[in-house]
């Protein structure tokens, strides 16, 4: 095309430079300039912070995090109970010592793994992570075990699961008394 970029030299002609008198005037002005810019910068910063804060609402309309799932006797030893998977996003597993609750969120990228009974493992369909019945990861890209949720008994003997409190194995939290319900 016929257009040419403007030569650099043309941008800085001698007329653009300030005369000595003008730069002296500017010198006296400089402290006001600093004040002005600091005020402008902090106002802009505050406004940006407000925008960021605006993205986080104070109230969330999401299902309750704490709920009852029935009596301990409702769960058979050695079975991965999938009844609460769809609605609550948990697996309830009872072994010979007690009951624990696993999150159905894969620790890799948050897909929902499937319980493969014949192979005795949780297998995530998205990237092939595999977890043992305990929740420990052993294959695929998952970086850490599935999370366990708080599990306690209510006064009437029902089990309460609280999803707002989670226990992570790699932080040594599975030994916490509320991560495991002794039966």
């Amino acid at each position: 095309m016929s257009e040419k970029p403007i030569p650099r030299a043309a941008l800085n002609t001698p007329q653009d430079e300030l005369s000595p008198a003008e730069s002296v005037k500017r010198k006296g002005f400089i402290s006001w300039l600093v004040v002005g810019w600091v005020a402008f910068a902090s106002a802009t910063g505050t406004f940006l912070a407000m925008i960021v804060r605006f993205l986080f609402p104070n109230v969330l309309f999401e299902p309750p995090q704490s709920f009852k799932i029935g009596f301990p006797d409702d769960f058979q030893i050695g079975v991965v109970d999938e009844r609460f998977k769809a609605l609550r996003g948990i697996w309830v597993i009872r072994d010979s010592e007690g009951i624990y609750v696993l999150s159905t969120v894969c620790t890799h990228l948050g897909c929902t793994p499937n319980w493969l009974r014949t192979e005795g493992k949780f297998k995530c369909p998205c990237h092939g992570s595999g977890f043992r019945k305990s929740g420990i990861n052993f294959e695929g890209p998952a970086p850490r075990p599935l999370e366990r949720y708080r599990i306690v008994l209510a006064e009437n003997g029902q089990i309460i699961v609280d999803k707002s409190i989670k226990f992570q194995q790699e932080k040594g939290q599975w030994s916490h008394p509320e991560a495991f319900l002794k039966v």
């Binding site: 095309m1 016929s2 257009e3 970029p5 993205l55 986080f56 969330l60 990228l109 897909c111």
Partner: protein
């Protein structure tokens, strides 16, 4: 006296005062009229008046930049039309999409929008490939290449936000996987390296409901809030940003010396 040729209807229209008030140069027959036609039209003025010959050779340009822009316009128009029928809520989103193909006459608008979006992604990649292979990113066009990379990234993000809107299995899981990567952003995601360092005493500052993924989804998982946020980003937020960068991109093509070519 020489006999005057009778004027055709077409000439009569093009010489009427109304026509002339809109198109000042008349039908571009002479060289001068053709140049003025480009200069006087706000849309055609995107182009210079004259070009070196290689700039109109398809073998050189592939026309991919132009097609990307055209696809963007197709997507804008079909997208606006789709908005008439679509409500971004968990309750209605899926059924509204179903209705689009069954209850609305000529129900291919969604197809046009979806396939057009795929085509735009490919066109943008090929445009980038052409620009690389002809070395057109070299000075003085370095900065415009940078703007182009941002435009490509915005194109992908636009397509990604649109992916959630049908609210089917494909949509929710693609976005679940995609947005969970944000969960692992260093420092800003609650499962990212360094996030646990940002804490006051025992209280973590970066948690599931205060990290960058939450800002994107408007919730702790892909649900109502995510659908609305993606809808707004897809229809208003990202098009707004991409149009600003597109304006810069086109402007800089002209200001950096027009289309690249051998010296």
């Amino acid at each position: 006296m020489a006999e005057k040729k009778p004027k055709s209807r077409l000439t009569a229209i093009s010489e009427s005062p109304v026509w002339k008030s809109i198109f000042r140069t008349g039908i571009p027959v002479t060289r001068r009229q053709r140049m003025m036609g480009i200069l006087n039209n706000v849309f055609l003025h995107l182009h210079p008046v004259r070009l070196p010959k290689h700039a109109v050779k398809l073998k050189y340009t592939w026309c991919m930049g132009g097609l990307s822009f055209f696809l963007f316009l197709v997507l804008t128009i079909s997208g606006i039309l789709l908005m008439f029928y679509y409500r971004p809520t968990v309750e209605y989103a899926y059924t509204d999409i179903m209705d689009l193909s069954e209850q609305v006459p000529l129900g291919i608008m969604r197809e046009l929008h979806r396939w057009g979006a795929h085509a735009m992604v490919i066109a943008v990649w090929l445009h980038m490939f052409r620009v690389f292979m002809t070395g057109s990113y070299k000075p003085p066009r370095e900065f415009n290449w940078v703007v182009g990379v941002l435009l490509m990234f915005l194109t992908l993000f636009l397509s990604f936000t649109g992916y959630l809107l049908p609210w089917d299995q494909l949509a929710i899981w693609a976005i679940t996987v995609g947005s969970n990567m944000a969960r692992a952003t260093p420092f800003l995601g609650h499962e990212g390296p360094g996030a646990s360092l940002l804490a006051i005493g025992d209280i973590n500052l970066v948690t599931m409901s205060s990290d960058v993924r939450f800002a994107l989804l408007g919730g702790r998982f892909v649900g109502e809030g995510a659908l609305l946020r993606f809808y707004v980003l897809h229809c208003i937020g990202l098009p707004f940003i991409i149009m600003i960068f597109m304006a810069v991109h086109f402007w800089r093509v002209r200001k950096d010396g027009g289309i690249s070519g051998p010296v």
